[in-house]
Amino acid sequence: MRPMPLTRLSFGQTGIIQWVSGEEDKKSRLMNLGFIPGERISLALISPLGNPRAYRILESTIALRSKDARLIGISIKERT
């Protein structure tokens, strides 16, 4: 399956992070928060205005705006 931006992840799906991009220090910040290629990620919460959304990663919940979530590419893990 082709990688897609994290913003396309919906409830109940599990994604695997494929790549993380971002200028300046954005990329390393995201990685320090646990957004690291190979990690599993899922959607936890959507804020009432639709943006930001909170994702479950490395056992914690982190809120990102869609602008920043687009810096992360994922592939959907097929459910077994």
Binding site: M31, N32, P48, N51, A54, S60, T61, R65
Partner: protein, 654 residues
């Protein structure tokens, strides 16, 4: 005595570091007995705090550092924390980890171990981990990392003694224990960096992470981009953490993806109504429960007045001081206590409980969409909540916002949120003029805070398109799990730490203010008291804003503390005519009405209480934070603009 014993026994400095919200401050309080503020949200601590502990003849100095996600600083606080770790000032380093969320904190711990092989890993929240069925094999972890790994619970105190015992033991051997398993190509690059920089190979990765120019050149020479080097470093630590996690941590049951409570707290249709409901509930309880004790206190104080006066009269040298001390100082002081203490004693504990639950980050999460549209940061929602308690605290708290532009916006607009010191005036004026029921008053004040929130958004937007031009930047915020607070401890600490502190500050201002206002009212120049000259002078400006000269004078004189606005106003009114003393809210209304107050005056005064210049403590704090007179001036002026605007609008309509 104390000094001597300290000289004999050197003090061992122990740094407490770790990811945000892992319980560093809670552990610090447990270790030192100093009550450090804690809260269930990332970024609670923004300052370094240190405290002593004597254990088995060893003198420890514990240092509570702000939480950081990495050794590569993304904010000034993270820089402070890192520099302290690197400096040899910290003789021992304890990395605190959250047992219920150990995976990520482990990666940070490993990067600390890389530069500080003597570090201790302290696995906190052991009590909660046990409840959640998380089992951590600390012995195995300690063996594979070759460093002490100790489970503790900062909340219950379990394991803390063992931790102190281990820290007391002779300094661990300095031999390298942990080696980051970098790939060969990365090792070569780091080796080259360390040679150029003439530093230890082990700390070369810090330079690469910080984007040092030499690191950039070396990476290029090896045919890699700096970006790739940085990612590889982070990934190395993370993968290594993953392996250790896999071998040492077992979980009985899977955690639920997101608790149902969270879905409701942040739900599309439920989030905002619930936030308003909570606000209303807090205000309702504050108003209704504070009423009785307030009355009791003020009755107590007024019954003490006669004996006090007799005492002053009986001592001949005190006799001339009786009016100024009793009508001036005693009057204002007791007003502030009886009106301020009960609501504060109810508001602050409730607020602390919500904070400990983890409600605040959810508010920020819900509001971020709006802040993003105003080109500001959602964490501003957190600083606004802090501002409800005290604006000076809110202003310092703005440090959690990493973008300097957005931090400045949050700082400047913080005083638009009414602090606890302004609640009594808001409540009493609304109660007297707008309604006679607690429910309606609570509604009214909730509405006023909603106005404050909207104005904060508006002013943030206006600042973003004028003085602080720019787009909203990166936003990432951890949402910690909802947690049941340690009920009684939180209440007790909140009373001592917050309510009492704020009250003392208000009293320190109230006493001299009472003195000054009495003098102004009783010393005459050309036949009229000075206060009359001032109020007459300000009368046109006051009338222009829908108020009067006396109200404006009271606002100006209460610059040092908002708490004293209403008592000062009443003293000014009382000094003009001869009126009976005030006992309750109904007599408050009669005093105000006799001085020409109408509903319009009340509304304008409410608007101005809600939004005017910040108190002097807030101004001093904002100068400390910005180190600029210009921005301090902007902080002064910004809340004034919507305040004046709203007053004029009310004058037009009502």
């Amino acid at each position: 005595m104390k000094k001597n014993s300290e000289k004999a026994q050197p003090v061992i400095t122990v740094a407490l570091t770790g990811n945000p919200n892992v319980g560093k401050s809670t552990l610090f309080s447990r270790l030192t007995g100093i009550k450090q503020h804690t809260g269930n949200w990332a970024g609670k601590t923004v300052d370094i705090m240190s405290g002593k502990r004597l254990h088995n003849g060893n003198h420890f100095l514990f240092v509570d550092l702000p939480g950081t996600y990495s050794l590569y600083p993304n904010s000034p606080e993270e820089e402070i924390a890192r520099d302290f770790l690197l400096s040899r000032e910290a003789e021992r380093v304890c990395v605190i980890l959250d047992a219920t969320n150990i995976r990520r904190s482990l990666a940070f711990a490993l990067s600390v171990l890389e530069i500080r092989p003597d570090a201790f890993l302290i696995i906190n929240l052991a009590d909660e981990a046990a409840k959640k069925g998380v089992n951590i094999d600390t012995k195995r972890m300690s063996e594979s990392l070759n460093c002490p790994v100790l489970p503790v619970s900062a909340r219950t105190g379990q394991g803390v003694n063992e931790m102190l015992n281990r820290l007391s033991e002779s300094k661990p051997a300095k031999e390298q224990s942990f080696h980051a398993p970098y790939k060969p190509w990365l090792r070569k690059i780091l080796q080259a960096v360390s040679e150029i920089k003439q530093i230890d190979y082990k700390s070369a990765f810090l330079y690469a992470l910080a984007g040092d120019p030499d690191a950039l050149n070396v990476s290029r020479a090896f045919g890699r981009s700096l970006d790739a080097v940085q990612s590889e470093i982070i990934q190395t630590f993370s993968e290594c953490a993953g392996e250790i996690y896999g071998s040492c941590v077992t979980k009985k049951k899977m955690e639920p993806q997101a608790a149902r409570a969270d879905k409701i707290l942040t739900g599309k249709y439920t989030a905002f109504p619930i936030m308003l409901l909570f606000l209303f509930a807090i205000l309702y309880f504050t108003i209704s429960f504070a009423n009785l004790p307030s009355k009791a206190l003020s009755a107590l104080f007024s019954s003490a007045e006669a004996p006090l006066r007799r005492f002053f009269d009986s001592v001949f040298f005190l006799k001339p001081l009786a009016p100024v001390m009793i009508d001036g100082v005693y009057g204002v002081l007791t007003w502030v206590i009886s009106v301020m203490l009960p609501p504060m004693a109810i508001f602050f504990p409730m607020f602390s409980l919500l904070e400990e639950c983890g409600f605040l980050p959810r508010i920020a999460f819900n509001l971020d969409g709006a802040f993003s549209k105003c080109r500001a940061c959602g964490k501003q929602g957190l600083t606004m909540c802090m501002g409800l308690g005290c604006n000076a605290v809110g202003i310092t708290g703005c440090r959690i916002i990493s973008s300097p532009r957005e931090r400045m916006i949050a700082l400047i607009t913080n005083s638009l949120m009414p602090c606890n010191g302004r609640f009594p005036a808001l409540i009493q004026i609304s109660y007297a003029f707008l309604s006679v029921s607690t429910v309606i008053t609570a509604f009214a004040v909730t509405g006023m805070i909603a106005v404050s929130i909207l104005m904060t958004l508006l002013m943030s937007y206006l600042l973003s398109v004028t003085l602080l031009r720019g787009k909203s930047s990166f936003f990432a915020m951890e949402i910690p799990p909802l947690r049941k607070p340690a009920f009684f401890r939180v209440i007790a600490e909140s009373l001592v730490n917050r309510a009492f502190k704020v009250l003392l500050r208000a009293l320190a201002v109230a006493a001299p203010a009472g003195l000054i206002i009495w003098c102004l009212a009783n010393i005459s120049i050309s036949g009229t008291p000075i206060i009359k000259h001032i109020t007459d002078y300000l009368e046109p400006a006051g009338l222009f804003l829908g108020m009067d000269g006396a109200i404006l004078t009271a606002f100006l004189l209460s610059l040092p503390a908002n708490e004293i606005m209403l008592p000062l106003l009443i003293m000014i009114y009382l000094s003009n005519g001869s009126l009976t003393e005030i006992e309750s809210v109904s007599s408050l209304k009669s005093i105000l009405v006799q001085n020409g107050w109408t509903v319009r005056t009340a509304l304008c005064s409410l608007a101005f209480t809600l939004m005017h210049f910040p108190c002097s403590t807030s101004l001093i704090t904002s100068y400390k934070e910005t180190k600029s007179l210009f921005w301090t001036f902007i902080t002064f002026i910004v809340p004034l603009i919507p305040g004046v605007g709203l007053c004029l609008l009310i004058r037009l309509i009502v």
